[in-house]
């Protein structure tokens, strides 16, 4: 599941990045405006961005690989950094199959057999729902700020647009496979445009493209994400947000095994 590993991480990291709009809250952090401080501030907000305190939305996912093309619609909920629930709406065959993440634990409910399995280390690297994401990506997505040290590597014009480019370097002890992540956001509004993942040997492994900036749930963010693995040309996973709401009242019981099985 090579294509999935970093893609998901980047995707999720950028999910968070998209909320750069809400920097206002973050800039109050520190008066110092050294590059590093700024980068860190933006990163902290990005980490929180797509989550806010809670969120709910529907997403359409399209996966194209050498062997199949798949289309799915899912509903997602999240609360804080640790809890998230994804339930498949279509296709019919997989309706109600769901993924529940609480902290470091992930469960998958299989609607067809009405069984829940808990994620074990041997399943970590397998693809999530047949996409280019792995289960590991979903579990690790909320740790960007803890695992990486951000630096602004470029500020200026590229392809006619004012952009800021961040380089995220992993902390020496962080349990992440990557050498570095490079994110590009718009200078105005901090909307993510591009994210690239490099392994330790500085080889580009994946790229995520962000587009279709839309107003959703009161925020301006890219509604279309396209994840492209470098080693498998022609393959990609595309996520389209159809609707999103933030800061709702979501009960704790929503993120429980029992809820997982509810049809």
């Amino acid at each position: 599941m090579n294509r999935a590993v970093s893609l998901a991480r980047i995707f999720l990291a950028l999910l968070v990045l998209c909320a750069g709009l809400f920097l206002q809250t973050g800039t109050a952090l520190s008066a110092q405006s050294s590059d590093e401080q700024e980068a860190r501030a933006i990163l902290l907000e990005i980490d929180d961005l797509w989550r806010a305190t809670s969120s709910q939305g529907t997403v359409r996912m399209q996966v194209k690989t050498a062997n199949y093309t798949r289309s799915m619609r899912m509903e997602m909920w999240s609360k804080g950094k640790d809890k998230s629930l994804v339930r498949i709406i279509s296709p019919l065959k997989e309706k109600d199959t769901a993924s529940l993440k609480t902290g470091n634990t992930m469960y998958t409910y299989l609607s067809k057999t009405d069984r829940t399995i808990r994620l074990t280390s041997s399943m970590m690297m397998s693809s999530w729902m047949g996409s280019h994401f792995t289960n590991d990506d979903l579990v690790k997505e909320s740790r960007l700020a803890e695992d990486y040290e951000p630096r602004i590597s470029f500020k200026g014009k590229r392809e006619g647009r004012e952009i800021i480019e961040f380089t995220l370097l992993p902390h020496p002890d962080a349990a992440v496979v990557w050498g570095r992540i490079v994110m590009t956001v718009t200078a105005q509004g901090h909307l993510p445009l591009l994210a690239t993942y490099y392994d330790e040997d500085n080889v580009l492994a994946r790229t995520i493209y962000f587009s279709e900036v839309t107003n959703m749930g009161g925020r301006l963010l890219p509604a279309l994400l396209k994840v492209v693995p470098t080693d498998k040309p022609g393959e990609y996973t595309e996520l389209v947000y159809e609707s999103l709401r933030f800061d709702l009242e979501l009960p704790e019981s929503l993120f429980s095994l029992l809820e997982l099985r509810r049809r």
Partner: protein, 413 residues
């Protein structure tokens, strides 16, 4: 005593035949030593190799760890166990280790495997085959919190080099997933592809922290003995130390590695069967030779019996001949076997071209060099068996000698 001297003189009369028969016995000794010693060497080697592959000659672990080796099953105070074990005579080392399954990832690739978490300050190559077979780099030091040592095959699969990152993910004691960073400090190559592609050495401290273990907890304490044959008695001694504790179990290598134990048992049985068959053949040959000699000396026996020798004495006479043959044979056997034994015990025969370096049996790599190792008990056993066989071979001829009447014997012309 007179009979004994007579028996000896009889043997000396037909020197050639006696020497040849003694040689036959000697040959039997040679064969027996060859089979037993090569077997014992191979088994000891395999047992010791499997011991240094992780579990030692004895292992002290949680009761249920053997059946379901998940990481929640642990010894709460493994350090104490290790201290106690080291005090028992016969124990050369005791290593505290955590062993379990994990997922290893580097860059875009990942592979499942097994880890052995060791304490670099206490582990030595003598007790750890992976340290012995390091081909690149070295073991991480006590200060290197994140050092790891991987096998050559895994390094190939995950594109690893010295210094590169390796992320490992395990299920901790509460069932949660935990990941940690490792940096490759060394690469080993045992020659067995499946071992080289799945085993990774991790630092004990790091794994303890990641799994949320108590400060002196571990999966097991691997105990190494000077002589693997002491495993069962030492197990009894050890088990008594923790008889009150419900959670602690002591396993011999036979119990923790039943595949290997089964294999050795079968091979040993085959070996004994073989030696028995050859022994039979040699005994039959000796019996026939003795019979021939008895048949030829019927006149002689007739004269002796006519002069007053009891049949019982005749029987004893022949038996004593057979006794002398046995002794002679043993001495001759020792003479011809010793140089061969010394050669095989030190240099041995190298079969690596025929079997190759990656031959494994019972889950353990087999050394392609055939060598000898004879335990004192085995040597005594062989001597005893050979001697008894020679004696047994003489029974029928002795009986035959004592049976016929003097007159019939004298008739032989």
């Amino acid at each position: 005593m007179q009979l004994a001297t007579m028996a000896w003189r009889t043997l000396m009369r037909s020197k050639r035949r006696s020497v040849i028969t003694a040689f036959s016995v000697a040959f039997g000794v040679l064969l027996s030593v060859t089979f037993t010693a090569s077997g014992d060497y191979a088994y000891t080697n395999m047992i010791n190799t499997s011991a240094v592959m992780g579990l030692g000659h004895l292992s002290v672990e949680h009761q249920d760890y053997q059946d379901t080796p998940t990481l929640d099953k642990r010894l709460l105070d493994a350090e104490a166990v290790q201290q106690k074990a080291l005090q028992i005579p016969g124990v050369t080392a005791a290593q505290v280790r955590i062993m379990g399954q994990a997922m290893f990832a580097s860059g875009a690739k990942s592979v499942g495997g097994a880890f052995i978490a060791i304490d670099p300050a206490r582990e030595t190559p003598a007790h750890n085959i992976f340290l012995r077979t390091l081909m690149e780099g070295r073991l991480f030091s006590a200060g290197e919190e994140h050092g790891v040592v991987v096998g050559a095959k895994m390094a190939e699969k995950l594109n690893l080099r010295l210094g590169k990152k390796l992320i490992f993910t395990m299920t901790d004691k509460d069932g949660e997933l935990v990941s940690e960073l490792g940096r490759v400090s060394g690469i080993f190559k045992t020659g067995d592809d499946s071992v080289d592609g799945t085993v990774v050495l991790l630092p004990l401290a790091l794994v303890r922290k990641a799994l949320g273990y108590e400060p002196s907890a571990a999966s097991l304490v691997a105990i190494f003995l000077a002589d693997h044959r002491q495993a069962v008695p030492i197990k009894t001694t050890l088990a008594r130390l923790w008889v009150k504790s419900q959670d602690i179990g002591v396993l011999t290598w036979q119990e923790s590695q039943p595949d290997l134990a089964g294999l050795i048992k079968v091979d040993r049985l085959f070996n004994y069967l073989l030696q028995f068959l050859v022994g039979l053949v040699i005994a039959a040959g000796i019996m026939n030779t003795l019979l021939m000699s008895v048949m030829e000396r019927r006149r002689e026996f007739g004269v002796m019996m006519a002069l007053g020798m009891m049949p019982g004495q005749v029987v004893r006479l022949v038996l004593l001949e057979s006794c002398w043959l046995g002794i002679l044979g043993l001495i001759l056997g020792v003479i011809i076997t010793t140089p061969w034994f010394f050669y095989m015990a030190t240099v041995g025969l190298d079969f690596s071209r025929q079997i190759g370096e990656d031959y494994s049996a019972g889950g353990v790599l087999v050394d392609p060099v055939m060598k000898f190792r004879l335990y004192r008990e085995s040597a005594l056993w062989i001597a005893g068996a050979v001697f008894s066989l020679t004696l047994v071979a003489g029974i029928f001829p002795a009986f035959k000698a004592g049976r016929t009447t003097p007159v019939e014997n004298l008739k032989q012309g």
